[in-house]
Amino acid sequence: MELQEKFDAVIAHHDRIEPRDWMPDGYRRTLIRQIAQHAHSEIIGMQPEGNWIGRAPSLRRKAILLAKVQDEAGHGLYLYSACETLGISRDELVELLLSGKQKYSSIFNYPTLSYADVGTIGWLVDGAAICNQVPLCRTSYGPYGRAMIRICKEESFHQRQGYELLRTMMSGTEEQRAMVQESVDRFWWPSLMMFGPPDTESPNSAQSMAWGIKRNSNDELRQKFVDMTVPQADALGVTLPDPALTWNDERGHYDFGEPDWAELTAVIRGDGPCNAQRLAHRRAAHDDGAWVREAALAFRAHEDGTAPVVHDAADAFGDRS
């Protein structure tokens, strides 16, 4: 068990496991599942926000939103690459997403119903994601941790942009303020659910923590998010839709109500308001693009020796980046 001991020692020292290092099968499987789920979430997460790019109400906001959704595609790319270092291909991962065998974050199974949702997703959803992800920068698997460092930096930027959009809207018309409040009302509880089920109901957490994949419990992170968000909501002038929300001097934290865990279960099971829509959109894009991917493969095959005319073609333009 020399390999196992070495692995354990790296974990114990909070050092990084690298792709060529030996690792237990369970560790590899858990990482693949988690990184893939994270990658899929970035890709599926393009849809709810992408829904409003075409209708962004100012050119500045259109540019910000388009760039943000593009960043999500980029995050998907890094994460698929990180996952590939564990010995699984992007094609396989995409197939696991499309067949429903791997999940993505349930938050993206809620619809975006107004432009305020763009701000709310930045503020609450990216905010919750950051709470979840900052500890992952110190996760035990090297490529994942390094991807997370880059992603977290960009996510913080997105979160500030989202909050800034809401602040601007709150300084606008009565209708705009109502739009912000309505949006926050819809996204508050689903955001809390982003931290997963309560610790008592989270079966895989202990092993993930032992392996240094996870660094904090679901409930710890949820509390941190609530504590961080309440003052921001006050500053914004919106009401969080939870009558139980109140400062607990003794705990030094905010108390808050219980999310509707049955709803979370239903959404994870596939019965959320947008599960079918999100997967159908992704599948349609994948299917519509099949002939293009085939053409690119065929062209590369020509380039690799059989068709010199085509080789000239490749030289005629700069590098494809």
């Binding site: 790019i53 075409g54 432009y115 493969l297």
Partner: protein, 261 residues
């Protein structure tokens, strides 16, 4: 001022409207890499549009639609969101619906070869704002053209299916090309300011011929798409598609004419 404003609207609306179409690809491209590339080009064009619309407003404030008093909407947004289709000056190539990936490749090839040559010439414009926009834009458009050229050749020589689709897209887009390189009276009225489209047209033809040759594709023989009573997109007479594109694009802004974003 009025001619310069119109000229800036022509260049700005081309960029704005095509950017809107490119952004529709977001989350729909055949590969993540192409999703990112298309978003990138949409962002480049959107950036150009903002500078050009602002320049149009500065050159002639009369082009900016009037909004309710106290509205905080900046000029670039008033122009983008509160003009009707007939006030847009973009070429019709920019506004037609997306079609498949072959169509976006062909549209970008036709559009970016022409715009690159135009911006290249505009670097020498006596209007320093236009010259600055052009200097930045040349780098961006070079990437767009190379991306489109690469994919044009790839699809032409990939599979039978990809070649069939590419030729179909080329055939249907080609009639929309002429408008890009046809000199407009507004351009002719701005010597030294506007690019000389007759010079541009020659360059564009040379580049396209090179790409077509490399791809092994014949130059289509199709006639330019007719205008209506001799007028085209450049004169505000568009296809039926532009007003639908604008209905979507402008819906939120128009629902809140005094909103802050």
């Amino acid at each position: 001022g009025a001619d310069l404003a119109t000229y800036c609207l022509m260049l700005g609306d081309d960029a704005l409207v095509l950017s809107q179409r490119l952004a529709e690809w977001c989350s729909r491209a055949p590969e993540l890499e192409e999703d990112i590339a298309l978003a990138n080009m949409a962002l480049d064009l959107l950036g150009q549009a903002r500078l050009l619309l602002a320049r149009a407003a500065a050159a002639d404030p009369a082009v900016v639609p009037a909004l309710p008093s106290g509205s905080p909407v900046p000029a670039e947004d008033a122009l983008a969101f509160f003009r009707d289709a007939g006030q847009f000056r973009n070429v019709r190539l920019a506004e037609v619906p997306n079609g498949d990936f072959a169509h976006v490749v062909v549209r970008l090839l036709l559009f970016s070869t022409a715009r690159l040559a135009t911006l290249d010439a505009l670097r020498a414009s006596v209007d320093t704002v236009l010259a600055a926009v052009a200097a930045k834009g040349v780098k961006e458009l070079t990437y767009h053209r190379d991306w489109a050229g690469r994919w044009f050749v790839t699809l032409a020589q990939g599979t039978e299916e990809s070649r069939r689709r590419l030729l179909g897209a080329l055939d249907s887009s080609w009639p929309l090309r002429a408008e890009l390189v046809t000199a407009h009276p507004v351009e002719r009225s701005l010597p030294g300011v506007a690019a000389d489209q007759s010079a541009v047209a020659g360059q564009v033809d040379a580049v396209l011929d090179q790409v077509l040759a490399v791809a092994g594709v014949d130059r289509p023989g199709k006639a330019p798409l007719a205008g209506v009573g001799g007028r085209t997109g450049r004169d505000g007479r568009h296809t039926e598609h532009l007003s639908r594109l604008l209905a979507e694009m402008q819906s939120v802004a128009r629902a809140h004419p005094t909103g802050r974003w």
